[in-house]
């Protein structure tokens, strides 16, 4: 068998997902992006309800202006690692600004959100140490575990008792353990029981890192996330996040209440052996962070949109992946064909969403995921609701 033959089942899956229409549901080609909420797909203008642009900052005038100015003054890229020639004033300032926002002494910026997990987790836990990770962790966390030389053990999704049991089994080794959880899981949109998870880690002397990729910017005071919302910043050891959701760019960060975290710069391979983020990316991220911290207006609009939309899909009888309304609404279907029919029906109505099917989903679920944005106008939310009302008449929602 050649090296490439093993990919044949993936070709079959791609074919099955594409069978329903002319536009593929995975890697959907965007011909043009018109705004934070509109794009052109297959020659038609569509409403975007399947991005992670939760605060709509990709087209924020101040962020755009900051990026343009940085390109003009500092160039398009750094062409070097942070350990070499790519350590600009903007990178250092952004790290300070993130750390100060949390009131913590240490912060590191990574080139992507994926690398933020990869670089932090793989360096924090090494040989002879342990990583206890939630079973439904993002791929970046699983890959970080593979890069780390630590022993990786999974615990049941969002189950603090299961975590505690595994920590008990480790005995004294629990003190050499990093617990890894996400505050909001992006596939189903479900929140972690963070207080209980943090308590279990603390009781056994383990450290805990919380990935706030899908909650930073949307929850808590100043949008600092769910740890801040729950008053856990004096108990959580590390918070990791991304620039490619609420910040509207690309990159990632990890902040810590432990000053020694700064030393990871000398031991984290994904931090050391890659080019640092380009100046316009850093400049836009700095502007976005200030915008996000400045006021609650964007969050207020986002939560208004969430409340309206969630109430509508619930009224129409759709099954959702989480009881907690949030920026991610996962509509769950037993049959893949029903999920595909909904995704296609929405696209036909001019609304782009995400289709997610096994094995990329937990518990074999078929999901149509809708991500809302503060940039969605009241009229756009109405349009989404009308599309679902029409679709629900044609397709049985919970089938």
């Amino acid at each position: 068998m050649s090296l490439l033959e093993k990919f044949a089942p993936l070709a079959e899956l791609r074919g099955a997902l594409a069978a329903s229409g002319s536009v593929p549901s995975i890697a959907t080609p965007m011909d043009e992006v018109l705004s934070a909420t509109e794009a052109v797909i297959d020659g038609r203008k569509v409403l975007l309800a399947g991005t992670n642009n939760y605060l709509g900052l990709t087209f924020d005038p101040e962020c755009q202006a900051a990026a343009i100015k940085a390109v003009q003054t500092l160039g398009t890229g750094t062409t070097g690692s942070r350990m070499a020639s790519g350590n600009y004033a903007g990178h250092r300032a952004l790290e300070r600004e993130f750390a100060e926002a949390f009131g913590w002494p240490a912060g590191i910026v990574f080139s992507t959100g994926y690398q933020a997990n990869l670089g932090s987790i793989s360096a924090l836990a090494g040989q002879g140490e342990y990583l206890l990770i939630d079973a439904d962790s993002h791929a970046s966390i699983h890959d970080a575990c593979r890069l780390s030389l630590a022993t990786t053990i999974r615990f049941r999704h969002n189950d603090p008792e299961n975590l505690a049991r595994r920590l008990e089994r480790l005995g004294e080794d629990a003190k050499r353990t990093l617990v890894v959880v996400e505050s909001l899981y992006s596939v189903l949109g479900d929140r972690a029981p963070l207080k209980e998870l943090v308590d279990a880690a603390q009781r056994h002397g383990a450290m805990i890192i919380v990935d706030e990729a899908h909650s930073f910017g949307m929850y808590g005071p100043k949008g600092l996330g769910i740890c801040a919302e729950l008053g856990l910043l004096d108990k959580v050891d590390f918070v990791v996040g991304t620039f490619s959701k609420s910040i509207g760019g690309v990159g990632g960060f990890c902040v810590s209440r432990h000053r020694e975290f700064e030393l990871l710069r000398l031991g984290s391979r994904p931090y050391i052996f890659t080019a640092s983020p380009p100046p316009p990316v850093i400049a836009a991220a700095r502007a976005a962070l200030q915008r996000l911290l400045k006021g609650d207006d964007l969050r207020a609009q986002l939560w208004r949109n969430i409340e309206r939309f969630t109430a509508a899909v619930t009224r129409l009888g759709y099954r959702t992946g989480s009881k907690d309304p949030g920026p991610v609404t996962a509509l769950v279907f037993d049959e893949r064909a029903t999920a595909i029919a909904h995704w296609q029906g929405l696209l036909d109505a001019g609304i782009y969403t995400n289709l997610m099917v096994p094995p990329a989903t937990p518990a074999g679920l078929n999901i149509v995921r809708i991500s809302l944005s503060a940039a969605h106008s009241d009229a756009q939310i109405s349009r989404m609701i009308e599309a679902f009302e029409a679709l629900a008449k044609r397709l049985r929602p919970a089938a």
Binding site: A135, T151, I153, P358, P359
Partner: protein, 83 residues
């Protein structure tokens, strides 16, 4: 903790039945993914069931090379013997 070989195999088979309720005849050499069609998520759910029933924690790396039922039972026995 030392688990008997019989108990480990019984627990593994029970966990397999939960992960794959419509399962037919399974021998020790049955391949979990290519023959039973279990995807990686189903295998990991099955491992969690085994962990709970035997009260052990199975490192992810310990079952990385377990492709058949016999492989899996052998991996679980090694972990159980060491815990």
């Amino acid at each position: 903790m030392v688990e008997s070989a019989d108990r480990v195999e019984r627990v593994v088979r029970e966990a397999l039945k939960i992960a794959c309720p419509d399962i037919g005849t399974v021998t020790g050499s049955t391949h979990l993914s290519s023959e039973l069609g279990l995807d990686s998520a189903q295998v990991m759910d099955m491992i969690m069931e085994i962990e709970d029933r035997l009260d052990i924690s199975i490192p992810v790396a310990a079952i990385a090379e377990a492709h058949t039922l016999d492989d899996l039972c052998a991996s679980v026995r090694r972990v159980a013997a060491g815990s």
